[in-house]
C-alpha cells in the first residue's frame, strides 16, 4: 500500500478556499450560467400531471419556435429572448426566486432600460411578442440545497390535487344520489303535500291569490307503503353526514353545510414519527368514512340488506381496509434531511416503508462522502446515506427512487409514478449542496455524483411486474453497462496542439472535489509526471505487485485551468473500490453482467465445446424444430352445419307449436287458455292437447299471425264436423 506523499513543493500547502483542484472533465463547465442546461426549473402551475416541472430553456425554446420566424427579424427576436433568458439564469443563480411571469417582467424592463431603447421600441415589442407566447407560468428555481424539497413538494401537491378531484367526484356523486333518495322519499310525505310546503315552493312573491290549504286538500294523500322504511332513512342520513363532513380533503369549490365540520387534515410532516402518529390518530375517522362510503355505494345501488350487511359493518376494522379504499385518501409527505433530522427517525422511516401505509418519504442528502476521521462526526441518518435507497429496496413493498438533483428532470415520469404509488414510497435525493466542496455549483456536484456512480439514479417499482427486469430500472445512468463512464477530454499540449484523450470519470474524480479529501490528494504538474502513474480506473483493475509499483491519479485542472495529475491515496481508492462494488451489485440487479447468467452461459459454452469434441458432426439442431403439424384452426363452423335439433314435434301426430317463432300475440291464448300457454320466455306451446277442442286448434292455427301452430290429427273422433276441420287443418300440418 502506498502512503508516502509525493515529494513536491506544495504538498503541505494549506487547502485553497476558492476554486480548488477540480477533475479535468469538469473544466468545461466553469461558467455554468452561460450554459443552457436543465436548471433553472419552472414548477409549472397547470396541474395536468404531464409537465409538473420543465427546464426554463425548454420553455424558451417553445416560445421561440412559436414566435421567431426565419429571417433577420426573427433572428433579432431570438437573440433578444435568449439574452433575457440569460438574465433570468443569472438572477436565479444569484439566489433570486419568483414566478416566471414576474421575473420576465422585471428583467425585461431592466434589459430595455440598459439598452437605452424607448418603451414600445423594437426590443420591448419583441419581448412582448414572446411573452404572449409564454403558455406556462410558475416558480423558477435554481439548483441548490432547497431544490429536492421544492420539486417533490410541488409534485406531491399536484398529485394530491388530482386525488382530491377524483375523491370529490366519487363522494359528491354519492352525496347527490343519496340526497335524491331522501328527497324523493320526502316528496311522497304528507309534509311535502301540506300547505306550508306548497306555500314555500311558490317563492317570496305571495299575493294571497292561492289558497294553499285548499290546494293541499286536493292533492293525493301519502301512502305509507310508498315511503322508505325508517331504518333506511336513518342509515342514509348518517352516511350523508359522514360523507359531507369528511376531514380528509377541503370541500373545494362547494361549501358543504355541515354543523360539526372539522378542520381539514394536513398531510405534510417533517418527521416519520409525527406522520405515523397522525395516521394512527386519524384511523377511527378513516374507518368511519370508509364504512360510510361502502354503505353509500350499496345504498345507491339498492343493494343494502340489513340482515346481511349490518353484522359486517359492525365488525369492520382496519384489517378490512382495502388498497382501493386507501388509494382514495391522501398520502402523507414526510421530509427528512440528512444532518438536520434526528438520526433516530431513520428507524421510524423504515417502519413506515415496511408498512402498507400511503406515506411518501423524501430523504435529502447534502453530503454523501461522509466525514473523514479527524473531523467531528455529524448527526447523520445512517452510516451510508448513499445506500438508504438500496436498503429500502430490500423491504420489497415500497417504491424507491434514488436520484441526484441534476437528474430530477430526466427522472420526472418515474418521480410522478412514485407519487401515484398506493403504498409507501422513498425518494432519496442528493442535492449537491455539499458545504465542503466550495467553488463547485450544486448542479455540477450532483451530476458528478451520478456520473461517478457515487449516487446512481435508479427506481424500484413493486407494481411494475413480477420480476426484477420490470421492477428495477438503472437506465438513467450514463453508460450503465460499464464500471465508469468514459468521456473525451480535449486539451492543448505543451506545444499548443489540440490533443484528445479518453478519460474515465471515477469515484476518485468525485472525491477530489471535496475539500476534506484534499489531504489524500497530491497535485503533480506536468514536469513531475512519471511513467509509474496510471489512471485510477486502470489502477483499480490491477492486482499484486503492480498495485504497489503504480500510483493512481485523476486528471485534474488547477485554478488556472492547467492540467495536473492528482495522485490519490488509498483512502480514496478504497472508497472507490467500495463504490464500484456497490455499482456492480446494482448492475447485476438490472441484468447487466449478471453473475448467474454469466455462469450459466459459461457452463453452456463448456458443455457445447465438449459435445462438439465427442460427437463428430454436431447435432443439426439443438432446438427441436416444431415438426408437429400446425393444428387446424378451429373455425366456428357456420351454424348451418350445426347438429340437427329435433323439432318439438310429437311423434303421434298431436298438435304442436314452433315455440321459438312465437311472437306472443295472444291470438291462441285468447282462443283457449287451457290448450295454449306461455313458457318462461313468454312464447306459446301446447300445454294440454286435450284441454280444448280440435276446432279451437284449427281456428288458432288459422288466426296465428306467423302460422306456427300445427293442429295435427284430431284426438277425439266424436267431435262434430271433423271432416271439414281436418280439411282446414291440412294447410297447417
Amino acid at each position: 500500500m502506498q502512503h508516502t506523499p509525493i515529494a513536491t513543493g506544495n504538498a503541505s500547502a494549506p487547502p485553497m478556499s476558492v476554486a480548488p483542484l477540480r477533475p479535468a472533465l469538469l473544466a468545461r463547465y466553469a461558467g455554468l450560467e452561460e450554459l443552457r442546461y436543465d436548471y433553472p426549473l419552472v414548477l409549472t402551475e397547470s396541474m395536468d400531471g404531464q409537465h409538473l416541472f420543465r427546464p426554463l430553456s425548454r420553455i424558451i425554446d417553445n416560445v421561440l419556435r412559436a414566435t421567431a420566424t426565419p429571417g433577420p427579424a426573427g433572428e433579432a427576436l431570438r437573440q433578444q429572448v435568449l439574452r433575457l433568458e440569460m438574465r433570468i439564469r443569472h438572477a436565479v443563480a444569484e439566489g433570486q426566486e419568483g414566478r416566471l411571469s414576474d421575473l420576465w417582467r422585471e428583467l425585461s424592463a431592466d434589459l430595455i432600460r440598459q439598452s437605452g431603447e424607448a418603451p414600445f421600441g423594437p426590443l420591448d415589442t419583441n419581448l412582448d411578442t414572446a411573452r404572449r407566447a409564454l403558455k406556462v407560468d410558475g416558480l423558477v428555481i435554481g439548483c441548490d440545497a432547497g431544490t429536492p424539497g421544492k420539486v417533490l413538494t410541488h409534485a406531491w401537491e399536484a398529485v394530491h390535487a388530482e386525488r382530491a378531484r377524483r375523491f370529490r367526484k366519487r363522494v359528491d356523486g354519492l352525496i347527490l344520489r343519496l340526497s335524491d333518495i331522501l328527497k324523493s322519499d320526502f316528496m311522497k310525505s304528507d309534509e311535502a303535500h301540506g300547505p306550508k310546503a306548497l306555500e314555500s315552493a311558490m317563492g317570496a312573491h305571495r299575493d294571497g291569490s292561492v289558497d294553499f290549504g285548499a290546494l293541499s286538500a286536493v292533492l293525493a294523500r301519502a301512502r305509507p307503503e310508498d315511503r322508505i322504511p325508517n331504518d333506511r332513512v336513518e342509515r342514509i342520513r348518517k352516511v350523508l353526514a359522514v360523507l359531507k363532513c369528511q376531514p380528509f380533503y377541503a370541500p373545494g369549490r362547494a361549501s358543504h353545510f355541515c354543523a360539526n365540520r372539522r378542520e381539514t387534515y394536513s398531510y405534510t410532516f417533517d418527521s416519520c414519527s409525527a406522520a405515523l402518529d397522525a395516521l394512527r390518530e386519524r384511523l377511527p375517522d378513516v374507518l368511519d368514512f370508509t364504512k360510510a362510503l361502502t354503505i353509500a355505494e350499496l345504498e345507491v345501488e339498492n343493494k343494502y340488506r340489513a340482515e346481511l350487511h349490518d353484522p359486517i359493518f359492525e365488525q369492520f376494522d382496519e384489517s378490512d381496509l382495502t388498497s382501493d379504499q386507501m388509494g382514495l385518501l391522501p398520502s402523507s409527505l414526510v421530509f427528512l434531511r440528512d444532518g438536520v433530522t434526528d438520526p433516530t427517525e431513520i428507524t421510524r422511516a423504515f417502519e413506515a416503508l415496511a408498512s402498507q401505509l400511503p406515506i411518501t418519504i423524501l430523504i435529502q442528502t447534502d453530503d454523501i462522502l461522509g466525514a473523514t476521521s479527524p473531523e467531528p462526526p455529524r448527526a447523520s441518518l445512517a452510516a451510508g446515506t448513499a445506500r438508504l435507497a438500496a436498503m429500502a429496496m430490500g423491504l420489497n413493498n415500497a417504491f424507491v427512487l434514488q436520484s441526484a438533483s441534476a437528474h430530477l428532470y430526466r427522472m420526472r415520469d418515474r418521480l410522478v409514478g412514485g407519487l401515484h404509488f398506493d403504498g409507501p414510497a422513498l425518494f432519496s435525493i442528493y442535492s449537491g449542496a455539499t458545504a465542503t466542496a466550495p467553488g463547485i455549483p450544486a448542479y455540477i456536484l450532483s451530476a458528478a455524483a451520478t456520473e461517478s456512480r457515487a449516487f446512481p439514479s435508479f427506481t424500484y417499482d413493486p407494481t411494475a411486474g413480477p420480476d426484477w427486469a420490470r421492477r428495477f430500472d438503472l437506465s438513467d445512468n450514463p453508460q450503465n453497462d460499464v464500471d465508469w463512464p468514459q468521456h473525451d477530454l480535449a486539451f492543448e499540449d505543451a506545444i499548443g496542439q489540440r490533443q484528445s484523450e479518453s478519460v474515465a470519470f471515477t469515484f476518485a474524480d468525485f472525491a477530489v472535489c471535496d475539500q476534506r479529501y484534499a489531504r489524500f490528494c497530491h497535485s503533480q504538474t506536468r514536469v513531475e509526471w512519471t511513467t509509474t502513474m496510471v489512471p485510477v480506473c486502470d489502477w483499480l483493475k490491477e492486482t499484486g505487485a503492480a498495485e504497489y509499483l503504480h500510483k493512481p491519479y485523476v486528471c485534474g485542472v488547477d485554478p488556472d485551468d492547467r492540467m495536473v495529475r492528482i495522485v490519490v491515496d488509498d483512502k480514496i481508492t478504497e472508497a472507490a473500490r467500495r463504490c464500484n462494488d456497490a455499482w456492480r451489485r446494482l448492475q447485476e440487479l438490472a441484468g447487466i453482467n449478471n453473475s448467474h447468467a454469466l455462469k450459466l452461459l459459461a457452463d453452456e459454452r463448456k458443455a457445447r465445446e465438449s459435445a462438439a469434441r465427442t460427437a463428430e458432426p454436431p447435432a443439426p439442431s439443438m432446438v427441436p424444430v416444431a415438426d408437429v403439424q400446425a393444428p387446424t384452426p378451429v373455425v366456428a363452423s357456420t351454424a348451418i352445419d350445426g347438429p340437427e335439433v329435433t323439432p318439438d314435434k310429437t311423434s303421434d301426430d298431436g298438435p304442436w307449436i314452433e315455440t321459438a317463432r312465437c311472437t306472443t300475440c295472444n291470438e291462441c291464448t285468447q282462443i283457449s287458455k287451457s290448450l295454449f300457454a306461455y313458457n318462461e320466455n313468454m312464447q306459446a306451446y301446447v300445454a294440454d292437447p286435450d284441454g280444448g277442442t280440435y276446432r279451437q286448434l284449427v281456428e288458432a292455427a288459422e288466426s296465428c299471425q306467423v302460422s306456427i301452430i300445427h293442429p295435427g290429427k284430431p284426438r277425439n273422433p266424436q267431435e262434430p264436423n271433423l271432416d271439414d276441420l281436418i280439411e282446414r287443418a291440412e294447410a297447417f300440418n
Binding site: 369549490r253 357456420t638 348451418i640 321459438a660
Partner: protein, 330 residues
C-alpha cells in the same frame, strides 16, 4: 385489480328476477295478433337475462300504439308527449347515468312529429336503446298514413292512396353524423329480435333498432309475403355482430356476412326493396357519447349549485357599506 369491497358486498345480494317481475299489473291492451307483443316479450326477456333491476330501468315513450309499452313493463316509465320521447330520455340519462333507459317510439311518433329530435338524438349519441316500432300506419287513431306508409296505401287521410314514397328510417339514421348503432329486426322472428335487442343494449351509445311490426287490424297482410317465405328475409351475420342459432339458421338460409363497420354496404342493405334485411347494419363503438363528454368534473350537488349561483350573483351584487361580502358568501 381486485374488486372493491362494495362490489363484494353487492355480490352477497343475489337477485333472481323472473319474467313476471317485469310484467306490470295491467295486461297489454294491444289488439290480438299485434307485433308489439313480441317486442314487449323480447324486452322483458332481455331484462331478465341481464338481471336489470326494475328500479334501475326506465322505458320512455311518446304517443301511439307502441308508446303504450311503458305501462306494461314493471319498471319506471314515462309516457311522454307526441314525438318527444327522445329528449325526455336524454334528460333522464344525463342526470341518472346509472339507469338503463329504453325508448319505445313508433313510425308516426318518431319519423313525423318527432323527426327533429330523432336526428339530434343520433348526433348526441347518448347511451340509450331506441326501439322504433314501425307498422307503417297510425294505428291508435284507426288508420292514417304515416311517413313510412307504402306509396298507394289507402287510409283515412289518403283515400285515393298515399302519394309519396315512404321515408326509410334506416337510411336516414345512417346518414346522420355520429351514428353508432343501427339494426333492423322483425317481430315475427322473435329469436333474432331478442338477439338484436341484446346487442343494442350492450352497445355503448345510442342504439337505434327499427322493428318491422305487423298491424293485423289496419295493415292486414302487409308483411305476409315475408312472413311466409323465409328466403325473402336477408339475415346479416358477422363475428362482431349477430350469430345464428342452428334452428334459426336452418329456416333462414338467405344469409349475408356483413361487417358492421362497412357503411357503404350498410346503406345498400338499408335500401333493399325485395328482401327485408334483419341484423346489425352498422356498429361503431368508437363514437364518443355526449353523456361521457359532458360528464362534469364534479357532480352538481345542491351545495355546489348553491355555491356557483352565489358566486355568479355576487359578481353583480352591490353591497351596502355596512355589509361584508366575504362573510355572506361563506
Amino acid at each position: 385489480m381486485t374488486a372493491s369491497m362494495s362490489q363484494c358486498l353487492m355480490q352477497m345480494v343475489q337477485t333472481d328476477y323472473q319474467m313476471s317481475d317485469y310484467q306490470s299489473e295491467i295486461a297489454p291492451r294491444w289488439c290480438a295478433g299485434c307485433g308489439d307483443n313480441a317486442i314487449l316479450t323480447a324486452m322483458q326477456r332481455l331484462c331478465r337475462d341481464e338481471q336489470l333491476p326494475p328500479e334501475k330501468t326506465v322505458c320512455v315513450s311518446g304517443i301511439g300504439c307502441s308508446s303504450r309499452l311503458p305501462h306494461y313493463m314493471n319498471a319506471y316509465g314515462f309516457h311522454g308527449i307526441h314525438g318527444r320521447a327522445l329528449p325526455i330520455a336524454e334528460g333522464i340519462k344525463i342526470r341518472r347515468p346509472d339507469l338503463n333507459v329504453f325508448v319505445t317510439t313508433g313510425d308516426g311518433d318518431n319519423c313525423s312529429i318527432g323527426a327533429a329530435h330523432w336526428l339530434h338524438a343520433i348526433r348526441y349519441n347518448m347511451n340509450l336503446t331506441v326501439l322504433l316500432h314501425d307498422n307503417q300506419v297510425y294505428g291508435l287513431t284507426k288508420k292514417q298514413a304515416s311517413p313510412t306508409s307504402p306509396k298507394g296505401l289507402k287510409s283515412n287521410t289518403t283515400p285515393y292512396g298515399a302519394a309519396l314514397n315512404p321515408l326509410n328510417p334506416l337510411s336516414v339514421t345512417l346518414g346522420v353524423a355520429n351514428v353508432s348503432f343501427v339494426a333492423q329486426a322483425v317481430d315475427w322472428i322473435p329469436d333474432l329480435l331478442y338477439e338484436i335487442l341484446r346487442k343494442a343494449h350492450q352497445h355503448r351509445g345510442l342504439s337505434f333498432v327499427r322493428v318491422l311490426q305487423r298491424c293485423p287490424e289496419f295493415m292486414g297482410h302487409r308483411f305476409d309475403d315475408w312472413v311466409r317465405d323465409p328466403m325473402k328475409m336477408r339475415i346479416l351475420t358477422h363475428s362482431d355482430g349477430l350469430r345464428l342459432k342452428p334452428e334459426v339458421s336452418r329456416v333462414y338460409k338467405n344469409q349475408e356476412t356483413h361487417d358492421p363497420l362497412d357503411m357503404p354496404r350498410a346503406l345498400a342493405i338499408a335500401s333493399m326493396q325485395e328482401e327485408i334485411p334483419v341484423g346489425i347494419l352498422y356498429n361503431d363503438p368508437s363514437v364518443p357519447c355526449y353523456d361521457d363528454l359532458r360528464a362534469g368534473e364534479r357532480p352538481n350537488t345542491p351545495a355546489l349549485v348553491k355555491t356557483v349561483l352565489d358566486e355568479e350573483f355576487d359578481k353583480v351584487g352591490i353591497w351596502p357599506d355596512s355589509a361584508d361580502p366575504a362573510g355572506s358568501t361563506e
